[in-house]
Subunit: 672 residues, 2 copies
Amino acid sequence: MLSTALSAAPQSQPPVRVMPLPASIETGSGQLLIDRSFSIAVAGYHDPALDRAIARFLTLLSRQTGIPFWSASGGASASLLVHAEHRRANPQKVGEDESYSLAITPSRAELSAPNTPGILHGLETFLQLVEPSPSGFIVPALTIHDQPRFPWRGLLIDVSRHFIPPDAIKRNLDAMAAAKMNVLHWHLSDDQGFRVESRRFPRLHGMGSEGQFYTQAEIREVVAYARDRGIRVVPEFDVPGHSRSWFLGYPKLASGPGPYSLDGNAAPAMDPTRESTYRFLDKFVGEMSALFPDSYFHVGGDEVDGKQWDANPKIQAFMRAHHIEGNRALQAHFNRRLHKILVKHHKTMIGWDEILHPDLPTSVVVQSWRGQQSLATAARQGYSGLLSHGYYLDLMWPAARHYVVDPMSDAAADLTPEEKSRILGGESCMWAEWVTPEIIDARIWPRNAAIAERLWSPQSTTDLDSMYSRLDAFSLRLEWAGLTHTSARTLMLRRMAGTEEVAALAVLADALEPVKDYTRWKANPHADFHAPLNRMVDAVYAESPSARRFRDAVQAYLAGGHSDAALEAQIRARLIAWHDNDASLHPLLDDRSLLQELAPISANLSALSAAGLQALDYLSRGEPSPEPWRTQQLPLVARAKAPAADMLLMVAAPIEQLIQATVPPASPPSLR
Amino acid sequence: MLSTALSAAPQSQPPVRVMPLPASIETGSGQLLIDRSFSIAVAGYHDPALDRAIARFLTLLSRQTGIPFWSASGGASASLLVHAEHRRANPQKVGEDESYSLAITPSRAELSAPNTPGILHGLETFLQLVEPSPSGFIVPALTIHDQPRFPWRGLLIDVSRHFIPPDAIKRNLDAMAAAKMNVLHWHLSDDQGFRVESRRFPRLHGMGSEGQFYTQAEIREVVAYARDRGIRVVPEFDVPGHSRSWFLGYPKLASGPGPYSLDGNAAPAMDPTRESTYRFLDKFVGEMSALFPDSYFHVGGDEVDGKQWDANPKIQAFMRAHHIEGNRALQAHFNRRLHKILVKHHKTMIGWDEILHPDLPTSVVVQSWRGQQSLATAARQGYSGLLSHGYYLDLMWPAARHYVVDPMSDAAADLTPEEKSRILGGESCMWAEWVTPEIIDARIWPRNAAIAERLWSPQSTTDLDSMYSRLDAFSLRLEWAGLTHTSARTLMLRRMAGTEEVAALAVLADALEPVKDYTRWKANPHADFHAPLNRMVDAVYAESPSARRFRDAVQAYLAGGHSDAALEAQIRARLIAWHDNDASLHPLLDDRSLLQELAPISANLSALSAAGLQALDYLSRGEPSPEPWRTQQLPLVARAKAPAADMLLMVAAPIEQLIQATVPPASPPSLR
């Protein structure tokens, strides 16, 4: 089964497996060998951050090759010469020059950039170019000139629904750097938790986090860690909605009477009519502004539930007295006041779609979770914007579905060049209802690299096969950077099974993905963020590479008129493996509470694979299948395609296609 | 192939998979469920170290179950009540009471101990009792009374030949704690590197480590980390031999003229005739005594090469003047002086066999790398001793071979009870010629747990099947504690292959082990400790569980007269997988420099498996094989059994047994 993947891999490799794809590549001839003699030297601008970047580069190069490089700084004859012209701004600015050039010949490599962030990106590109070859580890001779399409390429990590400790944030910063993303949007407070130590208001984290928060020292460490990797950190404190956790310690901020708890579904909002709310926010923003040096400050502003405002007579009286018509206007009033506070503390305001209101100056940045339409509307009105609609990683979409979402497409395609220039980029979003520190890497990566590529590479970079080939290579490299997106699954399978021998369980897991969109959420509307996330749905990949490859093989086989014997053999081997897997797995499934829900799924996979094998027999013999046989498979296919245990059997659809393809050409399709 | 392991696992489980096996277990009826309501409370003696131990326990319990336990401290009705009577000594003493009792009923568990180290051990036992079951995670009802057989249960880690950074040392301390080992013997200096920052003599680490050393802050951190886990840290500074690294910075300590370098095979020794040597050692021991609080101080003393002493006229003159007869007496002179220095700094001297000399007081402890004989000799002369002979992890022995080595066996078996009481225990040794931080976990674990059990459990604990069953369970749990002994192999295979799809490569790796004893060393006598350790020999397990299970299956099948159809099916499935594996692997092997040496091995495995399948056919038909067929297999078997690429094909011998078994009963054996 795995043989096919192995033997296919070298053939399907594009010449350069770099992700995001560089803006321009000229291939050269030959290759530079990476052996024990490899060395690196720095010319031009030089600072301790660059030294640290080079030390990290050498560590990663050692991990990728197994060759120790701990004393690899060379002089004038170094294998890789690095040359930066300028130091970069502190704090890092939106739109600073991130370009670099990398020229590799069989005798040496040169990396140059106007600015150190370009050097960081170029070092990542170099690492991605290293491949094993018959003669050792090499990088191909080539010349790359590269720069990003958008200046703002972010990842939002929600740490409120489930706390994500600093070490997990750091390894994700490493992965972001590998994908050339440059903004960590840190969603630090929400209804379910307030995650930053506040010295001015210690009951915020003291009562709003169940002890799970970042100390200010930890925040500073993460911000410095990010800056070292060319990544800005934009904090988000979501107000006036999504703020229940604030009210446990400071109930007077709220519009309703309380009491408040972190659990449950209530969505109270801040009271925008009391001066004390703004005095609080002024002091709070002042404290946080010192902690987060970036010039942007995210105030959330999404999904304000007006019920508490409607129910509060004082708020209603205030609205009448100030001629405020409706809750949208009341939120605009709140945002105007908040904007003044941010300006006082030298911060640029950024918020979700809902903050868009003519009252706010065009210096405000709007982040669209609703779609390209609201992004385009904002741009027309003079506001800068970011796209997040289409980039929600928690929806468990395949990378390809995110990849085709372009900030400049749909409604934004009709904008004038000036309006288009207001679209700064986008951010993928990792909302944390269903993630823990153990799971989060696999929920973000490798799919997030496809979004990173959309935001970095030229708009014309759209080939899906090329993207997936490079995504596979990116995934492989990520574990060297300390990510756990594949290793954590192994440990989770072992936990469920109680043994290290989980190959058969992995065969099943590879055929599965979590249900998509908000299906799991809808099935579990009463959020309980203390519940264990230790089921198979939490372990399986959001997008299974094995299932994708099987689907591609089936489609290629069918498209080729069932004549490709090698493809047929691949498909057959996999169907046999799935069919046989159930018998070996079954005793274990019954014997482990966490595996019991998998028994019917494994049985369905086995039965469906048997049907797929029969279909393959008909196809390879060029014989149509008998109508009664096909009718018999209908309930089987329906059963296999239905969600079970919050998962989908992703290989059901391709097997269904095999069965459908056995219909005689003349007769009408009986299965659809 | 993996199905067999999975389905076999539950049947072969002993009732309790705890390692080391407790001194006494009474099984109860029923089980305690570990679910979200689990809580823990402490009664009796209580200190911050115990709080930290409980926090670690909860973290590990969370990892093992996937259930979040970050706020699981309960009160009087806690699921697990912990009760320690006393605080422990600081620094920890040899022979302090480490016993504990653990009583588990379906409603609650109680862990009590006279002393906090017992609590630490009991918490580890509890974690190992947690198993998945049809009704969820459980611990079985039982009562355990447990205490160690020997007070000194150590692991030596050599950090000189290859530097092992603090994080790798720490995770190995976690594994030691899980195995109830209580001494880290830290081999901190040797010819190839001096690894501790010395402020008195900064050229020791400054010129003797190539920048790879522990700062004093790191040393303190590791010592505190170990103490938290009930582990003493005994430093070793090997003198007067194995000390080349000292001489780069301080050549006057040496007996020869130098110059010295860290590379090469020269084995110079300190000059034992100069007063300045002892003034240096006095200051040095003084500095290190403050850094390492344990009362024992290891001075090495092994393998002193007398050539420099012989060649130095001043040393020869000194020996004549002081009537010192031979180099052994000269080393004794050195040790006498060194012993006085240690006494001055309140340290007990410990050294290898060679220090044993009537001149030294019996307070000195002798560590035997040569065998039970020298241990027994020392005990008879009144010296305390430790066994390391038979416990060298770098020899790549199977766990069973270490397991049968008992400190009280062979020459030691004849000692009087009083003499026996001088045998304090033993230490496994991880000499670091062929390890890096990436490899070391797999070179120590899980095999080291078998040695830990030998030193902890009653002498009568000798069942190998039981040991291996518990070793498998121990291995599984170790990765939760952060060990990388299985995950690192996956990453190394991916590195060699340049793809995440390494299942076929893993099938080959599972059939292989590194060559044993000093074979690799002898084949590579010119040590180069800067060379990459990134070949298959560095990735394969020292003892392959898959190869062991195959061998056991073959032996059980043959012992059962070829009648067990299930065993036959297991063996057949594995032989088919090995036979088929070569075809899928071959294109990759040729295409990657690090894999090329595997091509003939993979071909041998395939051909031999085909022969094994034929043998199985003869056996299952009850038919003897024809003589010409067997003769044909001879060169094939010989080829497969020969070391290749520094590895052994471990499954060759069992397949040879299958072939041998096809000999007709009457005829003489043709293969042996």
